[in-house]
């Protein structure tokens, strides 16, 4: 066990006018996850610390947050993999002498903030409504008006493989909130919604490709993507998001050419 300082961006709408920083010093094993530390802080130091978590195993996508300047799932980020910041006089004063001494000899600082570009509700909890709203715009469900077969609509393993990566998206929001284009334009669909559009456009059972391309081939759709790759760096499921958006861009251009 070694001592680490968690520097957490906190905001309580009932008490704070502005977000503030708070430091917590706790002992962690390097093989533990950032989320383990947050849970321990909530259990032993400050029960008012607020964050989302559910499955603890990188599937629910609840614990997406900014850890030392990059978006990630806290349940999937090991302490030893976090690029630690140096403990430059961490202000642990409010927690007493023991913690202060611990900070001085701590291994490093882990800065934890809520996801960028989304409204903060409390501490590390952000309002995901803008994010899910973009998702709804691309019609995130199978559309097929042909009469249903006796059993399910079949898809060959090869066809499924074409959209396999985009299916693994857990909609945690790491990508969209890491995207500078989204920071600048909150009406931009964002990487997550575009990946979702690709997931159905590429699905051989779906019949609404035209409708979806219409939504996607807009200035605030694919053309806001400038291939910055922040989304690819942030994605906890290692989806090649920019590649998916590039494919949509090429489909959009082809569609336009065919029409003219």
């Amino acid at each position: 066990m070694e001592n680490y300082v968690y520097r957490i961006r906190r905001f309580d709408p009932e008490k704070d006018a502005e977000p503030r920083w708070e430091d917590f010093c706790i002992a962690m094993r390097p093989t533990e996850r950032v989320l383990d530390g947050l849970i321990r802080i909530k259990d032993t130091l400050d029960g008012s610390l607020t964050f989302r978590r559910s499955c603890l195993h990188g599937i629910c996508g609840s614990c997406a947050m900014k850890i030392n300047g990059r978006n990630a799932l806290a349940c999937q980020t090991l302490i030893k993999d976090v690029p630690l910041l140096t403990p430059s006089s961490p202000s642990c004063g409010h927690r007493g002498a023991a913690e202060k001494a611990a900070a001085a000899v701590s291994k490093g600082v882990i800065v934890v903030e809520p996801l960028p570009a989304l409204p903060v509700i409390k501490d590390l909890v952000v309002d995901m409504d803008p994010f899910f709203g973009k998702n709804r715009l691309v019609l995130p469900y199978l559309i097929n008006n042909e009469p249903p077969p006796e059993r399910e609509r079949l898809q060959s393993p090869e066809d499924q493989h074409k959209i396999l990566q985009s299916i693994t998206c857990i909609m945690c929001g790491c990508c969209t909130s890491s995207c500078p284009s989204y920071w600048a334009d909150k009406e931009y669909l964002g990487p997550a919604a575009l990946v979702k559009a690709y997931r159905f456009i590429g699905d051989t059972r779906d019949r609404a490709t035209e409708e979806r391309l219409e939504k996607v081939a807009q200035i605030q759709g694919v053309w806001r993507c400038h291939s910055i790759y922040n989304c690819v760096e942030a994605c906890p499921k290692e989806i090649d998001i920019t590649d998916h958006i590039s494919k949509l861009k090429r489909l959009a251009v082809k569609k336009r050419w065919k029409r003219s």
């Binding site: 910055i228 790759y229 922040n230 690819v232 920019t242 590649d243 494919k247």
Partner: protein, 114 residues
């Protein structure tokens, strides 16, 4: 917004900044050229161009153009379907080749060639 700068976002930032700078330069360039009235004025302007400081800023202009052009080619290739795995190698290759061209250009522009 404090967010960790990675290769891709660095390339984008350079692209934006050089793009804005080059746009401003184009206007300056056209303004100066379109206000020349006779050969004498042209000669006077060309005389100013021999000033070492102006020469140095020409090297800067070359660097802006090279950076913007090379990254433009990089992004175009990537969006045409080149693998994302190549985005970082492409950036660093462009940076090395671009730096070499800028050095060669500096040698010529600053009079090392004669």
């Amino acid at each position: 917004m404090r967010y960790k700068l990675r290769t891709g976002s660095l390339a984008w930032l350079i692209h934006r900044v050089t793009g804005v700078a080059l746009t401003l330069y184009i206007f300056l360039h056209l303004y100066v050229l379109s206000h020349l009235k006779d050969p004498e004025e042209y000669k006077a302007l060309m005389g100013m161009m021999r000033n070492p400081l102006v020469r140095l800023s020409e090297v800067g202009l070359l660097a802006l153009v090279i950076a913007h052009a090379f990254n433009g080619v990089r992004v175009t290739l990537l969006e045409l379907g080149l693998s994302t795995r190549l985005q970082k190698p492409l950036f660093w290759t462009a940076a090395v080749v671009g730096a070499a061209i800028c050095l060669a250009g500096a040698w010529v522009l600053l009079g090392g060639g004669h």
